[in-house]
């Protein structure tokens, strides 16, 4: 059983991502509704993948990625950015910071599923 942490401030988008992942089966999801919440949840259990939005109210996704990449405990974790086409520039920066992949909102469920499967080796 793999565990994915979804970091996203919009409840509807979170639900959507969760639904897409649920279809994969064999995967458990944990949700954080803000960057702060994600920071608190990181040490609580082991994750296999982080899916994060960029534009969030407290700390943004880039800052979260930077935190994860600079922490020896988490820096092996794959990270997928799920963000709007609005933040094209930000996605590039996210990739430069060490994100594994990015998916543009609104996404097709198949597309997201494929990327997740490839990333965590399902």
């Amino acid at each position: 059983m793999k565990t994915i942490l979804i970091v996203e401030d919009s409840a509807t988008t979170r639900a959507l991502i969760r639904a897409v992942i649920d279809e994969l089966g064999e995967v458990e999801t944990v949700e954080a509704s803000s960057g702060f919440e994600a920071l608190k949840m990181l040490p609580q259990q082991e994750y296999d993948l982080i899916i994060t939005d960029i534009n969030m109210p407290d700390i943004n996704g880039l800052e979260l990625i930077s935190f994860i990449r600079n922490n020896p405990r988490y820096n092996h974790l794959p990270i997928i950015i799920v963000s709007t086409e609005r933040s094209e520039e930000d996605k590039k920066r996210g990739m430069a910071l060490g994100a594994t992949a990015y998916v543009t909102k609104p996404f097709k469920s198949l597309e997201l599923q494929e990327i997740i499967k490839k990333t965590i080796g399902l």
Partner: protein, 658 residues
């Protein structure tokens, strides 16, 4: 309609209300310095609206909010500079979005295509090539790398303004960091702008988390270090390390807004009305129980059973008072809610008549009953439009008079005892006394020789039927006179006063009760009838010896502490017999120029009453504000104080009544 769709409508309406408030805030701070947080918040609410409407497949709303989101993105990234036309444009499009939301479930849907094209064209027309100053080289690459595009823009904007850029480094325990961080952020916001918040785990003990907050500020570094109890590193020196940056209260305001959305419940005001009604009925029942208690004492003396009844009555009384307070408190809303709607009208209307109005609002947080808040919108709207129409002069004329071209309208609310006062002040031409005089003469309201002081002017302009386009009472296209303003207010015990000075401006002061429904009233007797007078409208009671009553110009007056107090005999006003004793009680009501003494035969003390409307049938009956039940199923009439004062004023002016 499906309930999920209803939820969407509620959320969309809330988002749009919030957006409107944000645009207003942007408009208000345009001259004094925009708060980037406000602009970013507007961007975010468009972003959220786009997201949720997309989920519901509402293509029109999705596309339109998307276009606005893109526009706001350019604004927040500094690619588009915000100005009046951008603000008007935003207002217009939020209105369009509101209409689209209203249309949901109605079957027809407006094609949003043209609007979207409109937004795109507008956006293109504004886009400037003007780039930000470069921050490269001055700030560590490792920090620059994690900034989002927006944060980078904010960093450059802060540098462009010559602010110093600092890094505050703090370490908090992992389980409480959000609170501590929030406090630190708040603190920094009083000094400048927080640009980014970077979490870090290097050099941080286990179970803790570090944060590097980058912020821009004009405050000198020594002062920052003294005020912020964390390590502070200066990254870029301030160009003007002299004056302290003005505090940024809007940032804190946003915090409270965030909170309210998570802890509030929306309730239909009608439900609260019903609760309040029930509480009112309970109050009556309590009164009855109390009376039975008193009768028991009379009949059986102080037995233990009687004592028990007395005790339980007291408990009942206290709890009921608490319940009452709590229900009334729930009904309280900040007056800012209606101010923002008002501001919208002002903006739209001033554009229509092509006058630039600088709107200043104070005391938005002042609370009053939701019902009253709703009831005063129309009167306020009326007064505001009057100010713009007839108060504020055209720019040309203002220039000639040596005034600022832009007219100023100040709306101010504050609490004063049991009342909320709303002041509406303009710096226009003032009420044209000569025109008022001419019109009043024509209407036979005054004599040739009548002196027109502020009080008289007000009485005239608020007289029913007195209206002239040139003066102040008629509003374009509305056909409502100032008398309606006064009538509306007096319906719930409020009143209006006016101050005016030529070329300086006019101020209307609306005094409103904070709550209504259950009010304290004085019960009085005139002949065989009993009436009640709301305590909120009276200031004192007197015993008057009839020999002290003087007659001036066919009017009865009494000298109260050296000042003339016009008297109104309730008996002759209502045409009922009164006692023939040589003395009466006077209930002094009203304020200032509109103060009169109502002569009655006896005072019975206070009572809590629930005013009920007299209904359509008695609507034309003058002199009564409603009816109330007091104990033993007895119903008494509540005197309409404003109408009585009006009556006494008319008699003064006409001089026809002896």
């Amino acid at each position: 309609m499906k309930s999920s769709k209803k939820e969407f409508i509620a959320e969309a309406e809330e988002l749009l209300e919030e957006s409107q408030r944000l645009v207003l805030e942007i408009q208000d701070t345009l001259a004094t310095g925009l708060n980037p947080d406000t602009i970013n918040a507007l961007f975010r609410s468009m972003h959220t609206l786009k997201g949720v409407s997309g989920l519901f497949g509402l293509q029109g709303i999705t596309n339109l909010s998307h276009a606005l989101e893109t526009l706001m993105d350019d604004v927040r990234l500094g690619k588009i500079e915000i100005n009046r036309s951008v603000i008007s444009f935003l207002f217009k499009n939020i209105d369009i979005l509101k209409n689209l939301v209203d249309e949901i479930g109605g079957g027809s849907e407006t094609d949003s295509g043209p609007y979207i094209k409109d937004i795109q064209a507008f956006r293109e027309s504004l886009k400037s090539a003007g780039g930000d100053a470069t921050a490269g080289g001055m700030i560590d690459e490792a920090i620059m790398k994690v900034l989002s595009e927006y944060e980078e823009h904010r960093l450059k904007a802060n540098m462009k303004e010559g602010k110093g850029i600092y890094l505050a480094k703090a370490v908090f325990s992992l389980d409480v960091f959000d609170k501590a961080l929030e406090e630190l952020t708040k603190k920094i916001k009083t000094k400048g702008e927080v640009i980014s918040t970077l979490p870090t785990s290097s050099n941080v003990p286990d179970g803790s988390i570090g944060f590097n907050l980058m912020f821009g500020s004009r405050t000198p570094p020594e002062e920052l270090k003294a005020d912020i109890p964390y390590e502070i590193e200066a990254l870029v020196k301030s160009k003007t390390e002299v004056q302290a940056a003005p505090p940024l209260p809007p940032a804190q305001k946003q915090d409270t807004h965030l909170k309210s959305t998570t802890t509030t419940v929306r309730v239909d005001i009608e439900k609260l009305d019903r609760i309040l009604n029930t509480v009112g009925e309970l109050a009556l029942a309590k009164g009855a129980v109390k009376r039975i208690g008193t009768e028991l004492v009379d009949q059986y003396g102080h037995t233990s059973l009687v004592y028990d009844v007395h005790k339980i009555t007291q408990t009942l009384e206290r709890r009921l008072a608490e319940l009452q307070d709590q229900v009334l408190e729930i009904r309280m809303v900040p007056i800012g809610q209606i101010f923002s709607r008002l501001a919208q009208v002002i903006r739209r209307y001033s554009r229509d008549v092509d006058k630039h109005i600088d709107l200043v609002i104070y005391g938005e947080e002042t609370e009053l009953d939701k019902y009253i808040a709703e009831e005063i919108i129309d009167p306020l709207m009326h007064l505001v439009r009057n100010s713009i129409d007839h108060g504020i002069e055209p720019a040309e004329e203002r220039k000639r008079k040596g005034k600022k071209e832009e007219g100023t309208v100040i709306i101010k609310a504050y609490q004063k005892g049991n009342h909320v006062v709303v002041e509406l002040r303009d710096d226009g031409a003032g009420i044209n006394v000569e025109k008022v005089r001419k019109k009043a003469l024509e209407k036979g309201l005054i004599d040739k020789d009548t002196e027109l002081d502020a009080g008289k002017i007000m009485d005239i302009i608020f007289t029913p039927g007195f209206s002239t386009k040139d003066v102040v009472s008629e509003v374009s296209g509305r056909g409502v006179g100032m008398d309606v303003v006064r009538e509306k207010l007096s319906a719930f015990g409020g009143f209006v006063e006016v101050e005016t000075a030529k070329d300086v401006g006019t101020t209307f002061m609306l005094t409103l009760p904070i709550t209504l429904a259950i009010i304290k009233a004085l019960i009085v007797r005139v002949g065989h009838e009993r009436f009640s007078v709301p305590l909120t409208s009276m200031s004192e009671t007197l015993i008057i010896d009839h020999r002290d009553i003087q007659t001036i110009e066919w009017k009865e007056v009494y000298y109260l502490r050296g000042e003339m107090l016009p008297l109104v005999r309730i008996s002759s006003f209502l045409g009922i017999d009164s006692d023939t004793a040589g003395r009466s009680f006077a209930v002094v009501v009203g304020y200032g120029e509109r103060r009169v003494g109502l002569l009655v035969d006896e005072l019975f003390g206070q009572h809590e009453i629930v005013i009920k409307s007299l209904g359509e049938y008695f609507k034309r009956l003058r002199g009564f504000a409603g009816a109330a039940e007091i104990g033993k199923h007895e119903v008494i009439l509540v005197l309409d104080i404003e109408a009585l004062i009006d009556e006494s004023m008319v008699r003064q002016k006409g001089g026809t009544h002896v």
